[in-house]
């Protein structure tokens, strides 16, 4: 029996993750609240929270195709921005009062251009310049960029973001990360009470609803899971997923339907988001945010000089979660993750960890082939 049957809290979170405009967003908006959309996990939600905005991470949930977006991109472009932008063109992101895009990969960066060009109903748009190297000089540069973002948000939304408000927002988001770490820790046991696909839903919900509500729900869920029986997969192969925009529980569901269990992940909506924390309070909050983004959590493969940190984070997870094999998921046309997987493949091999690497579209189109490959992989890591 899954959490959908046993936990109303999980059902609520899964509903939020399973759609874009959800009841929590509606309730926020009807109370006069504003919603700030953003691409990529490195964008500091804390600035939006401090301004009294609801941060909402852009994704392509529910997209059926890219017909409208395909005027703006070619077939060579990654399908994650194509699906999410297609939804934007269909008006499904009209509830956003603002959009912040970071200078991450080339395709996401130009999605900012497309969003503006299409004349979408998003009153505030901003391109955040994020460094692509980890280092002290970069911290200084990034702090200045965050200062500019803060000023732009303050001006547009008539908000005043004090240091006190920023530290409060940092503490709130740190609490989210701490609770998510607790959730992940529950999966270290031999027979976890929450599956990988259920975890994806919980993590995605965290970027789609008010943080205070989310933290409360997470506390309830953690209490429920603490007393819940295991998922009945005590002897199953324990797998980890590494890759980019993994916001759809279906990949985990395929793996778990074939007899494996996904016990952790290093993905942009999942495990990468909750690693490390910013607090405790000390001095300039913008500097703390900059240090966190550039030095503590350079987990985007676009960041030079930080691959050893990413590799170590993956290996630490493999050790802590007793992972038997890693599934490397790359969206077709993603140069940064393509390169990262090219390196990880050999590094994991050297560490004696089997790896299955596959390229897929945002909406997996060849489920049959994927299922076969997962089956074959499970044979190689079968306990």
């Amino acid at each position: 029996m899954g959490l959908s049957e046993t936990s109303p809290t999980f059902r609520d979170l899964a509903r939020i993750a399973g759609t874009l405009r959800n009841p929590r967003v509606d309730s926020w908006k009807s109370g006069g609240g504003k919603v700030m959309g953003y691409y990529c996990s490195f964008i500091p939600e804390e600035i939006f929270v401090a301004a009294g905005l609801l941060p909402f991470r852009i994704r392509g949930t529910g997209s059926q195709g890219t017909e409208l977006a395909d005027q703006y991109y070619t077939q060579v472009s990654c399908t994650f921005p194509r699906h999410s932008f297609d939804q934007a063109l269909r008006g499904e992101f009209d509830f956003l009062d603002g959009l912040v895009v970071g200078t991450s990969c080339d395709t996401i960066r130009h999605t900012f251009d497309n969003w503006k060009h299409a004349g979408l109903k998003t009153p505030f748009t901003y391109l955040l310049h994020r460094p692509h190297v980890t280092g002290e000089l970069q911290v200084d540069y990034y702090r200045r960029q965050l200062e500019k973002l803060k000023s732009a948000v303050e001006e547009h939304f008539a908000a005043r973001i004090t240091d006190e408000k920023l530290w409060e927002a940092i503490e709130l988001c740190d609490e989210t990360r701490r609770l998510q770490q607790e959730l992940y820790a529950l999966r270290k046991v031999p027979n976890p009470a929450i599956t990988g696909s259920e975890t994806v839903a919980v993590m995605v919900a965290g970027a789609s609803m008010p943080k205070t509500d989310y933290n409360a729900a997470l506390r309830t869920l953690l209490a429920e899971l603490g007393t819940a029986p295991g998922g009945g997969k005590a002897g199953a192969a324990r797998l980890m997923i590494a890759g980019c925009a993994h916001d759809d529980p279906s990949l985990c569901a395929i793996v778990e339907a074939e007899g494996g269990i996904v016990v952790t992940d290093f993905t942009c909506f999942g495990g990468k988001v909750m690693l490390e924390s910013i607090g405790p309070r000390s001095g300039d909050p913008l500097l703390a945010l900059a240090r966190y983004g550039v030095l503590d959590r350079p987990f985007c493969p676009k960041i030079g000089g930080a691959h050893p940190m990413r590799k170590q984070a993956v290996l630490d997870m493999v050790r802590d979660f007793k992972v038997d094999g890693v599934i490397g998921q790359v969206l077709v046309s993603c140069d940064p993750w393509g390169g990262e997987m090219f390196l990880l493949k050999d590094e994991l091999k050297e560490a004696g960890i089997p790896m299955l690497k596959f390229e897929t579209d945002y909406l997996p189109s060849s489920v049959g082939q994927l299922t076969t490959r997962v089956q074959a992989f499970l044979e190689t890591v079968r306990r």
């Binding site: 005027q71 703006y72 991109y73 070619t74 060579v76 472009s77 990654c78 921005p81 200078t103 990969c105 080339d106 395709t107 960066r109 130009h110 999605t111 900012f112 251009d113 497309n114 060009h117 391109l127 310049h129 460094p131 692509h132 190297v133 980890t134 280092g135 000089l137 970069q138 540069y141 200045r144 493969p301 676009k302 030079g304 000089g305 691959h307 050893p308 790359v330 077709v332 046309s333 993603c334 140069d335 940064p336 993750w337 393509g338 390169g339 990262e340 997987m341 090219f342 390196l343 493949k345 050999d346 390229e359």
Partner: protein, 422 residues
């Protein structure tokens, strides 16, 4: 290396050559550009100088002033892709399991890295510019196991175009100099560095003069000379007086043709177009045919672009590095077009069309350029609004198998006919 291979790789076959002067310039330029052939690049580090390898071009004046040997791995990959056996090199790279749509120039560079064909460097400098593919290559170089012990430096090229971006990049260049001094034991000779910058300024000014001459209708010489001029002044160790001399004579000879209102030999110029991407390695199978059969002349591409080069301020080391940073971020081909917003790319295209009296914009949209592939509609709409015929192709500038030159020719011919230009 045969002469034929050198010619194929280094130039598109000259469309016009004043029997004496231009043939001589061709010979001299090709002689120097032959230094970029992969085999020569691989042998050169054996010369005894410390060997620095970079993922992209950012620091030619600096490494030359430190008397270091410098290789740009992306250029090596791009040049390898353009060799007669380029397709085989691409196929070997694919077999290595690189991401399926990675730029083939970078794939070839990765093949050279992992084969392993590249000599062991003394220092590695990587940068995130100009595109996702080269950024990925930098991370590969950075983490290539046999080079694990080699000192490394990472440059962060910002996407901004404000003064703070140039200052930020200039500071990194200063740190890079300190890094190189420590890694190679060579000191930056400030006097030599500033002298090289001044020579580089002279070359930049001559290239700008040549660009002005290209405005003449009909175009007086093969416009590809601008691209060769760039390679001579930036990819070959810079500041060489013989390069300045070639450029000076090129300008003088072109000026004569403009005065005589003489266009390219054998070309009845009817159409002038912008190829707003990297010129393909198979350009020799396309551009001469377009010119001779349709009178369609490619006036400009990324590496022969029209922007005047930022003058390096040689007042001090700091001012030189800051303006050097600006030159890199704003003027360097590919970085200029790929690192900034779509608006910047379009402003350039429309400005060039106006200033050079062009008739059409072609967006080749190399499949490896993830940036270009993310804004074809913006480009099309801007051209439509400006009343400029616009053609989107979708080709691979390093691998003609993706869209063969004959097919590109037919597509362009149909397009020119359809919009009433041919």
């Amino acid at each position: 290396m045969s002469d034929k291979a050198t010619q194929m790789t280094m130039t598109t076959p000259a469309l016009a050559s004043d029997a004496g002067v231009f043939d001589q310039l061709n010979r001299e330029a090709n002689g120097i550009l032959a230094e970029l052939l992969p085999q020569k690049l691989l042998e050169a580090p054996k010369g005894g100088k410390p060997f620095v390898i970079g993922s992209d071009e950012v620091l030619p004046e600096i490494v030359s002033a430190m008397d270091l040997y410098y290789n740009i791995l992306t250029v090596t990959g791009a040049t390898a892709a353009g060799m007669p056996d380029g397709a085989q090199t691409i196929d070997k790279a694919i077999e290595m399991g690189v991401e399926s749509r990675l730029c083939n120039a970078v794939r070839c560079a990765m093949y050279y890295l992992y084969s392993p064909l590249m000599p062991m460097p003394d220092a590695i400098v990587t940068t995130n510019s100009p595109c996702d593919a080269v950024d990925t290559l930098g991370i590969m170089m950075d983490n290539y196991k046999p080079w694990a012990h080699v000192p490394k430096f990472h440059l962060d090229a910002p996407h901004g175009r404000e003064e703070e971006d140039f200052v930020y990049f200039g500071k990194q260049l200063k740190e890079m100099v300190l890094f190189l001094e420590k890694a190679t034991g060579r000191k930056l000779d400030l006097g030599r560095f500033l002298a090289l910058c001044e020579e580089s300024n002279r070359q930049g000014a001559l290239l700008a003069e040549f660009q002005e001459l290209k405005r003449a209708v009909p175009c007086p010489v093969d416009p590809d000379w601008a691209r060769r001029g760039f390679r001579l002044s930036r990819w070959i160790p810079p500041g060489r007086p013989e390069v300045t001399d070639i450029l000076r004579r090129l300008v003088a000879a072109t000026e004569e043709r403009v005065k005589a209102k003489q266009g390219m030999d054998g070309v009845d110029e009817k159409i002038r177009f912008l190829w707003w991407d990297v010129s393909p390695v198979w350009a020799g199978k396309l551009f001469p045919r377009l010119a001779t059969e349709l009178g369609a002349v490619c006036l400009m591409d990324y590496y022969s672009y029209a922007a005047p080069w930022t003058v390096i301020d040689t007042t001090s080391e700091e001012s030189a590095l800051r303006t050097f940073g600006k030159r890199y971020l704003i003027d360097t081909p590919m970085t200029r077009q790929a690192m900034h917003g779509a608006d910047f790319w379009i402003e350039d295209a429309l400005r060039i069309v106006k200033e050079f009296r062009l008739d059409a914009v072609v967006m080749p949209c190399h499949i490896g350029h993830k940036d270009l592939n993310a804004f074809p509609k913006i480009a099309r709409d801007a051209c439509r609004e400006a009343g400029i015929p616009f053609l989107f192709l979708g080709c691979d500038v390093w691998d003609e198998r993706y869209m063969p030159p004959d097919k590109v020719f037919e597509t362009m011919k149909t397009f020119f006919q359809s919009v009433g230009l041919a």
